[in-house]
């Protein structure tokens, strides 16, 4: 089955997460085709994992001083630091029958086109279970999923050229008192695409799109007005509120 590819629109972090929820629900309801979209951000943000405690993950003073949006995702997993142009994020919204039922297998299968897209740039990326995309020197990015009854959201954030110093100021990585193993894991080196290949961010995205097209076949689409309207409403009622973002 082909997927509809959407590469338009620059939105703030809350709107992106609202789009995720609305597009998943619309694919789940059979209202729209399988869809893949790349994100274009308007400002710095920390997408927080659904089950993470706000205070444990972000350095609140820095976040406030730098006007960084902290938005809780609808998916589990860990916090990331994202700035426009520094990060590549995409979301897939697929009917359940396009995705292996086994969670572990599904992360691997849904990462295949991305690994292919990076290989096309001679970048040696590989899938690392459960949900990481890695280079031998470290972690490039991670995926997270949410399953609705009849659809799956799979979204991934990869580090194109993330400012690691700024990331470490925004996130409380390794600053908590946790087991040695956890600290070691948190400090596991972040690898960036720009450390290894000269291609521009747009060129990397183009290569990913070629690989996506080779894997699924793509048609180019745009957001329906109803999707945008519903997402705007949800951004305001949920993703811009402390009630959601600071609930844990």
């Amino acid at each position: 089955m082909t997927v509809r590819l959407i590469t338009e629109g620059e939105y703030d972090e809350a709107m992106h997460h609202a789009l995720d929820e609305v597009l998943l629900s619309r694919v789940d309801a059979g209202e729209i085709e399988p869809t893949v979209r790349f994100w274009y951000r308007t400002g710095p943000a920390v997408p927080l994992g659904r089950f993470q405690a706000y205070e444990d993950e972000v350095a609140t003073d820095y976040i406030e001083a730098e006007a960084i949006d902290v938005i809780r995702r609808i998916t589990g997993g860990g916090a990331m630091f994202a700035e426009p142009g520094d990060i590549i994020t995409y979301s897939m919204y697929l009917p359940a029958d396009m995705v292996p039922r086994d969670v572990r297998e599904s992360y691997e299968v849904l990462d295949e086109w991305v690994i292919d897209g990076l290989h096309r740039l001679s970048f040696d990326a590989f899938h690392e279970p459960l949900n990481d995309i890695s280079h031998e020197d470290g972690k490039i990015g991670g995926s997270a999923q949410l399953r609705a009854d009849d659809a799956v959201l799979h979204h991934t954030t990869m580090s194109y050229s993330v400012d690691i110093a700024r990331m470490l100021k925004a996130l409380r990585i390794g600053k908590e008192k946790v087991s040695d193993k956890a600290v070691k894991s948190a400090e596991k080196r972040v690898a960036r695409i720009t450390d290894y290949v000269p291609d521009s961010r747009d060129a990397v995205i183009d290569s990913l799109i070629e690989a996506l097209d080779a894997e699924y076949g793509t048609t180019t689409g745009t957001f329906e007005q109803e999707t945008l309207d519903r997402a705007e409403e949800l951004a305001e009622s949920k993703f811009q509120t402390d009630d959601w973002n600071k609930r844990l």
Partner: protein, 89 residues
């Protein structure tokens, strides 16, 4: 009393429990970078632990946690039970 304990599950995710307890475990908050399907089951996992004696055995908690209809991804019932027991010790 209140206590917090974390575990980074080998080849899995970080799970942290914050418990309020006296003779019984009164309140539990589970956080971390794990996955859970459906996500709404988080409250059910917490409720499965609450109400148990503070000197509960991990095996008893495992049984209670396994009653919850949810898929735990990046951790399992034993990890959650074990970290809870460590928190109240």
């Amino acid at each position: 009393m209140q206590a917090t304990e974390s575990v980074k599950v080998p080849d899995g995710k970080l799970v942290r429990v914050a418990v309020t307890y006296d003779d019984e475990i009164d309140d539990v908050a589970i956080t971390g970078d794990f996955f859970l399907q459906p996500p709404e089951a988080l409250a059910d996992l917490e409720a499965a632990i609450e109400g148990h004696s503070a000197d509960v055995e991990a095996a008893t908690l495992v049984e209670a946690i396994e009653q919850v209809e949810a898929e735990l991804i990046g951790f399992d019932a034993f990890d959650l039970a074990q970290v809870t027991v460590e928190a109240v010790e």
